[in-house]
């Protein structure tokens, strides 16, 4: 059988660098079952029989954080053959605290003192031989970054695993504690099979660790019995049990360090100097703003959006020009040709309407592709003559003529399907269902990768912890972490990388809260819809777009405050006692690896749900029962589709919100595929009756129109974002909680806007108003009720 070696150590001790250096590309990355904590294992490069498991970075083996519980359960239950305890050589004192607990588990331990290159550079001396004697385990000096001592540490661990000598700690607590521990062991631990872990169990019971009491199945009677031992010891030492144990561990470490470490006297380190500037009272916020702007500018506005456009409109669209050479010329030509064409259309329309050609100026319609808004421009007779000449002397511009044109995958697939004379339904399924679905998954990957380069860099260099330090004060009021700032910021561009950015938040509850609320911020895909509502219903009013952002921020704040007080987020508040690691320059390979892992996990974990739901929506949109039986429909026949029937069946839900007709319902459902689809669907549905904006204006009042907007901004995001939520929650129950909460919250806000809004738009007081006011009251109750779970 192979050997399993667990890597355990504090966060920022260089464990991940060591893991990468030991395993190379032989890695498996996933999650611990049912929780959001990352699980990593890999095969040792030098010997495939040696499996290395990378435990989460932890400071202790207490029962209070998910990472610690996951780690200690793995160590006790799975019993790896050996543990490599990775220690940051520049910070021995705190790192050894975890060591004092790990050596109590009975599993062979070897210590890897990492970052020895830095220790030596600082002029510090560590007497590893003495340290090894004091703690009673082999100690190896390494530098994961410089590939130093890597073989030695694995060899030592393998040797320890093969010898399998029971590990026992050299450290003894105060006499009265040891007395209590002996009692506890005698009383309730004789059943524990592996006697090597007995000491660990007895210390945990002494600390009143409820998770261990439960695990051992202790009766209430036994617990009470132990309690007497603990209480008498506490009385003797005048402190509580946990403090006694922690204090003694640190005192013990203090004596070891005194004997083994010689620190060179030194002034400020480079890291100190950087920190003096970066989190300086006056410069911190401006520097923060610049860093955030850079992250946003590159990963959302420029490189990120080029990448997304290329992936969505190029690879999964019509195609793209190699290196974008010729694109600009081609677009100019297309614009010119279309403009000429539209002028002629306008001329013909005038002729149709008036029975004769215009003598002077005439109008022609120009439709905005994104928002379906129609604008009328004026043309003169000369324009018409010029346009006719242009059309007659030019062909429709072909992209191939302007550069090296690479057709998109759909074009390629379509021509293939046409060549084999594929049935229309199958063709539709493949093109609009499967290829579009795969496109929806992969289209976001380039942007996610760009963002994750940044996040990996910010995390690895130590600035991410400072982000939390700077923003904590604002965000913790809403039950969020200072690190929630980045997901929300990125969320204004696209919710998917935004949700995935929540990965950097250590605390489980903060992370879940961030995942649930990030998509409330309007993303880029919602902008055309906002513009459409503003243009069609509110006559292009300028306040509509900013109001969407205010609504998003309002939703995040109220949700944070309300959810914080609910049972699912109850429990001890997360202690925000956070290490601010020393700044250091990350290695390129670690940054790239972290980027790739996260991008890949999105494809793998979010891909299925996105693909399936896209296919389902495609099917229901393009099939339906018509007078001539069940068949595939044209785009314009959406009124007969299964989706329309579903819309008709569900539209009653939205009656209290003022838009209880199937058109709005269907548009909301297609918005789940991609939010910009709402515009397209409404354009098709309302376009059938003439001018899209006019028909839409007639279908909504001010109140119902804004309620419709609010509902679609706040309800469940697109399938791709839902996939990201599912991936990050890693838990079906939490996934549905998030989606359910978002839809429910959106519905309540829509109700309030419509019912209370009617009061102000002159529709008077109705029964509905009562419900609207009741909903406000509920919201206020949720916001201001006492937090009964707070301590």
């Amino acid at each position: 059988m192979g050997i399993r070696i667990a890597l355990a150590g504090n966060p920022n001790c260089g464990k991940t660098t060591l893991f990468n250096a030991l395993t190379g590309s032989n890695q498996f990355v996933g999650n611990w079952p049912g929780v959001t904590v990352e699980y990593k294992e890999g095969k040792y490069k030098g010997d495939k029989e040696v499996k290395i498991v990378d435990l989460p970075g932890i400071y202790s083996l207490s029962p209070y954080t998910l990472e610690e519980v996951v780690s200690r359960n793995y160590l006790i239950d799975e019993k790896p053959e050996a543990i490599i305890n990775v220690i940051d050589g520049t910070n021995l004192e705190r790192n050894l605290y975890l060591t004092t607990q790990i050596v109590e588990l009975g599993i062979p331990v070897v210590i890897a003192i990492n970052m020895m290159d830095v220790v030596e550079k600082n002029g510090d001396k560590i007497n590893t031989k003495k340290l090894s004697e004091e703690i009673g385990v082999p100690v190896i000096e390494i530098s994961a970054l410089k590939n130093r001592g890597l073989k030695d540490i694995v060899d030592a661990a393998v040797k320890a695993a093969k010898e399998a000598l029971p590990q026992s700690p050299k450290h003894r607590f105060d006499g009265s504690v040891e007395h209590a521990l002996a009692h506890i062991e005698e009383l309730c631990l004789h059943n524990v099979e592996d006697e090597n872990v007995q000491r660990w169990y007895s210390i945990k019971l002494f600390e009143r660790d409820e998770k261990i009491q439960e695990k051992l199945g202790l009766s209430e009677e036994t617990v009470n019995h132990i309690e007497k031992d603990i209480a008498s010891c506490e009385k003797e030492l005048d402190d509580d049990a946990e403090s006694i144990i922690t204090g003694e561990r640190y005192n013990y470490i203090g004596t070891i360090i005194d004997g083994c470490v010689k620190k060179a006297k030194k002034g400020l380190t480079t890291s100190d100097k950087i920190d003096r500037i970066v989190t300086n009272r006056f410069l911190a916020l401006p520097i923060f703003a610049v860093v955030m702007f850079l992250v946003y500018f590159v990963s959302v506005t420029t490189v990120g959006s080029w990448a997304t456009d290329w992936a969505n409109d190029g690879v999964f669209g019509d195609g793209w020009h190699l290196f974008a050479i010729g694109s600009a010329d081609y677009n100019d030509a297309v614009d010119k040709y279309n403009e000429a064409d539209l002028i002629i259309v306008g001329y013909d329309l005038y002729c149709e309407g008036n029975g004769e050609g215009p003598t002077g100026d005439f109008k022609y319609p120009v439709e905005d592709e994104e928002t379906a808004a129609v604008e009328y421009r004026t043309a003169t007779h000369e324009d018409y003559v010029e346009a006719m000449e242009y059309i007659n002397s030019h062909e429709v511009p072909e992209p191939e003529d302007y550069g090296v044109w690479i057709p998109g995958i759909p074009v390629f697939v379509e021509s293939g399907l046409d060549a084999i004379k594929c049935n229309d339904a199958v063709k539709g399924l493949i093109l609009d269902g499967i290829v579009a679905g795969v496109g929806a998954v992969l289209g976001f990957v380039p942007q996610i990768l760009v963002l994750f380069i940044f996040l990996a860099f910010l995390e690895a260099c130590g600035y991410m912890a400072r982000v939390a330090f700077i923003m904590d004060r604002i965000f913790r009021k809403f039950g969020l972490s200072g690190k929630s700032f980045i997901p929300m910021l990125i969320g204004t561009g696209c919710g998917i990388p935004g949700i995935m950015a929540s990965r950097t938040i250590e605390n489980d509850r903060d992370r879940k809260m961030t995942i649930m609320t990030t998509t409330f911020i309007p993303c880029g895909a919602k902008l055309p819809f906002i513009a459409m509502v503003a243009g069609a219903i509110f006559g292009g009013a300028a306040w509509v777009a900013p109001s969407a952002y205010f609504l998003g921020i309002f939703a995040i704040i109220t949700s944070g405050i309300m959810l914080k007080k609910t049972k699912i987020f109850a429990g001890d508040p997360a202690p925000f006692v956070m290490e601010l690691p020393a700044y250091h320059w990350p290695t390129l390979s670690n940054v790239l690896r972290s980027m790739w892992e996260r991008g890949w996990s999105f494809i793998k974990k979010a891909g299925t749900i996105i693909l399936l739901s896209t296919i389902v929506v495609w099917f229901t949109t393009f099939f339906g029962f018509t007078p001539d039986g069940f068949r595939m429909l044209e785009e314009e026949e959406i009124g007969m589709s299964i989706l329309a029937s579903i819309g008709k069946g569900l539209s009653w839900i939205f009656i209290p919100l003022g838009f209880g007709d199937w058109e709005a319902t269907v548009a909301s459902i297609t918005g789940l595929v991609a939010k910009e689809n709402i515009v397209g669907t409404l354009a098709i549905i309302y376009g059938a009756a003439g001018d899209v904006y006019e028909t839409m204006r007639a279908a909504f009042t001010d109140a119902s129109g804004f309620a419709f907007l609010a509902f679609n901004l706040l309800c469940a995001p697109c399938f791709a974002a839902m996939g990201a939520i599912k991936r990050e929650m890693n838990n079906t129950k939490w996934f549905w909680r998030a989606i359910g909460y978002q839809c429910g919250f959106a519905w309540v806000i829509g109700l309030i806007i419509y019912q209370v809004g009617k009061l102000f738009t002159g529709e008077g007081f109705t029964v509905g108003t009562v419900f609207g006011i009741a909903a406000i009251a509920c919201l206020l109750y949720g916001l201001f009720r006492k937090d009964k779970y707070a301590n």
Binding site: Y59, S60, S62, Y64, T65, N91, E93, R94, Y97, D239, D240, E242, S243, T246, G247, Y250, N251, D275, T279, R281, F282, A284, L285, A465, A468, F469, I470, M471, D472, R473, I474, R476, D572, P573, A574, P575, F576, V577, M578, E579, L580, P581, A582, N791
Partner: protein
């Protein structure tokens, strides 16, 4: 006196940790135990949390949590 009241630039000694449960344990796990010296480095630009040096490394503590840490000058 609690850690909250300590001025930036001062060094103090911990006498006791109040409170219970996860927060207290976390504070102690991070090395803030009875008798240890704490140097208050700076306050975050928005006024909270504070950055301290303890056992040779930097730690960020919220003022509300700092109130649980009793110190003497």
């Amino acid at each position: 006196m609690t850690l909250r009241d300590v001025k930036v630039g001062d060094t103090v000694k911990v006498t006791k940790i109040d409170g219970a449960g996860a927060v207290k344990r976390r504070i102690m796990d991070m090395g803030i135990t009875k008798g240890v010296e704490i140097y208050v480095r700076k306050i975050a630009p928005l006024g909270d949390p504070v950055e301290i040096t303890v056992r040779g490394y930097e730690l960020s503590v919220r003022k509300a949590d700092a109130e649980m840490i009793l110190v003497e000058g």
